[in-house]
């Protein structure tokens, strides 16, 4: 499984007032099993980009290939693409509509024409992947759940289609710290157990650093930078110019290095930072 985006350009309302060039010549690739993080200032085109990956938006120009197949020439069946590439929108809990959690999660698989007999298993599996118990909440109304639970139900609704690529648009937006951590560990679990490509947008640099294999930085409809988190976050000045930050751990370590020059570290996560401190202070371990 791979995704290839070639020279993608998208213009909202062409020739109308409010014409916006939301994507401008964007190209990148995502390889099998990779986790790709996307960051960028508000309005830089991240959500627009995601909607091209499962054919919800047709590009003004350029192409998208999923698994080598072009999905932008109008020849593929959209249902097949939507099954392969699962897209979870920002605030997905606002799309719940069924009477029960189980029925809502079953909506996707049913649309793709899965046999009824297999649906229940799918729903069970999807709910357990997001850390919810079918027997406990399957029959309750999705509107009775907490915010974090609702979001996980909505994500399960996409996972139940067994996508080969999972795309999440700001999956942790507006959640409290506990629900935030749960969603992060859920993403890890999904990645480990399904081994699928995960693409996610986040404004939380800490999440991006700890989850992604590779990061794309969007700025004004273009890709401004891309690379491993280590590479991207070493350009702190350029990021700041785009209204972006480095992960909190990185900025703390830079401040510490300014005070205690013997502790030099370009750690992005707490584990890496701890490792560097340990190495810098002789006899720390004992």
């Amino acid at each position: 499984m791979s995704i290839e985006v070639k020279n993608l350009t998208y213009i909202y309302n062409p020739g109308m007032p409010g014409e916006t060039r939301a994507l401008d010549g964007v190209s990148f690739e995502v390889h099998d099993g990779e986790i790709l993080g996307i960051i960028g200032h508000t309005g830089s085109g991240k959500s627009t980009l995601l909607q091209h990956l499962n054919g919800l938006l047709r590009p003004t120009s350029g192409q998208v290939f999923v698994d080598g197949q072009c999905i932008t020439d109008g020849k593929v069946r959209l249902v097949d693409i939507r099954r392969k590439v699962g897209l979870v929108f920002q605030y997905p809990e606002y799309q719940l509509f069924e009477e029960t959690v189980a029925k809502d999660v079953a909506f996707g698989p049913r649309n793709t024409g899965l046999e009824e007999s297999k649906i229940e298993n799918r729903v069970r599996a999807a709910l357990s992947l997001v850390g919810l118990d079918y027997d406990e909440i399957g029959e309750s109304s999705p509107f009775e759940l907490s915010g974090g639970q609702k979001r996980r139900v909505a994500i399960a609704g996409v996972l139940a289609m067994r996508p080969s690529v999972l795309i999440l648009d700001e999956p942790t937006a507006g959640l409290d710290p506990a629900a935030h951590r749960e969603i992060l560990s859920m993403i890890r679990t999904i990645h480990e157990s399904m081994g699928i490509i995960i693409i996610f947008v986040s404004h939380n640099m800490g999440d991006i650093a700890s989850l992604s294999d590779r990061v794309i930085v969007m700025d004004k409809a273009k890709i401004a930078m891309s690379g491993t988190p280590q590479e991207v976050f070493s350009h702190d000045k350029q990021l700041a110019a785009m209204g972006l930050d480095v992960p909190p751990v990185r900025s703390i370590m830079m401040q510490i290095a300014a005070e205690i020059p013997s502790i030099q570290s370009n750690a992005l996560t707490t584990q890496e930072a701890a490792e560097d401190i340990r190495r810098a202070i002789p006899g720390f371990e004992q």
């Binding site: 020739g15 909607q51 919800l56 939507r82 606002y94 799309q95 649309n111 289609m161």
Partner: protein, 269 residues
């Protein structure tokens, strides 16, 4: 597609039409609608259409923008056209099985369709060139006399503003929900009528819930800013009649006279 509906939307600009007092435009639009019903032959429509195009040209709103916004409404017009076409008795023009088109039906259908098109474009010109807030201010002022007999004029005006203000928001919300359900493989375009109606449920329920949420947030925000109804409120921008409004008023009177006169000239066809 749903985003394209620009009904009730404002097109920012600084044309003579934009600068008119909202009250002038409201009265002008009402008058125009009444005049469309005074018209009894095609000459009247020619004149009314010419006047409308003059206003459009003066307002500098792109014609493309106006028509794109109305494409959904034209489905309704086409429907009325067909209904009239087949339902009116008279001299038979064309006949096939149970379908009959009469001369009277055809002329009635065309007449009604033209009237509806002019009516819709005419009234959308008002909303296109007037900020919603000015529109409601104007409406509130115009309704003021009715306040004496107990009509809650401020509340009516406020309801109108909120409705107009939230059309684009709800469109956006609908667009998002449609996309989200499409991402789960929902299909709104195929199937028979019943299946299509059923496929709307995944859109309508989240939309209702969103509307309630939006309404509640709005009510809270208004209360937090000490909103307490209309009495004693003052305005930052008072609206007032200017020279342009006098010109517009004179033009309206002349136009009314022309329309009435057009009833007495022999019809075009």
């Amino acid at each position: 597609m749903i985003r394209d509906i620009t009904l009730g939307q404002y097109y920012p600009g600084d044309s003579p039409v934009h600068r008119l007092d909202a009250r002038t435009k409201i009265i002008g639009t009402l008058l125009y609608i009444i005049e469309l019903f005074i018209v009894n032959n095609y000459w009247g429509f020619v004149i009314a259409a010419a006047a409308l195009f003059a206003v459009i040209a003066l307002s500098r709103v792109p014609v493309k923008f106006i028509f794109r916004g109305l494409s959904a409404v034209f489905i309704i017009i086409a429907f009325t056209f067909l209904l009239n076409l087949f339902m009116v008795d008279g001299r038979v023009l064309w006949h096939w099985k149970f379908l009959t088109i009469t001369y009277e039906g055809l002329s009635r259908a065309c007449f009604m369709a033209i009237r509806l098109v002019l009516l819709i474009i005419g009234s959308s010109m008002m909303t296109l060139t007037t900020k919603p807030i000015e529109l409601t201010d104007g409406l509130e002022k115009l309704l003021k006399p009715f306040g004496l007999i107990g009509l809650p004029t401020h509340e009516i005006a406020l309801m109108m503003t909120i409705a107009l203000r939230f059309i684009p928001t709800l469109m956006e919300e609908t667009d998002k929900i449609i996309k989200a359900q499409e991402a789960r493989g929902a299909d709104f375009e195929s199937g028979n009528l019943l299946q299509r109606a059923k496929s709307l449920i995944p859109i309508l329920i989240p939309l209702f819930i969103s509307s309630f949420r939006i309404a509640q947030d709005l009510a809270l925000a208004m209360e937090a800013r000490c909103y307490h109804g209309g009495s004693g409120r003052t305005r930052m921008n008072e609206i007032h009649f200017g020279k342009g409004d006098v010109v517009a008023a004179i033009l309206m009177v002349i136009f009314l006279a022309v329309i009435i006169a057009s009833r007495f000239i022999p019809d075009l066809f």
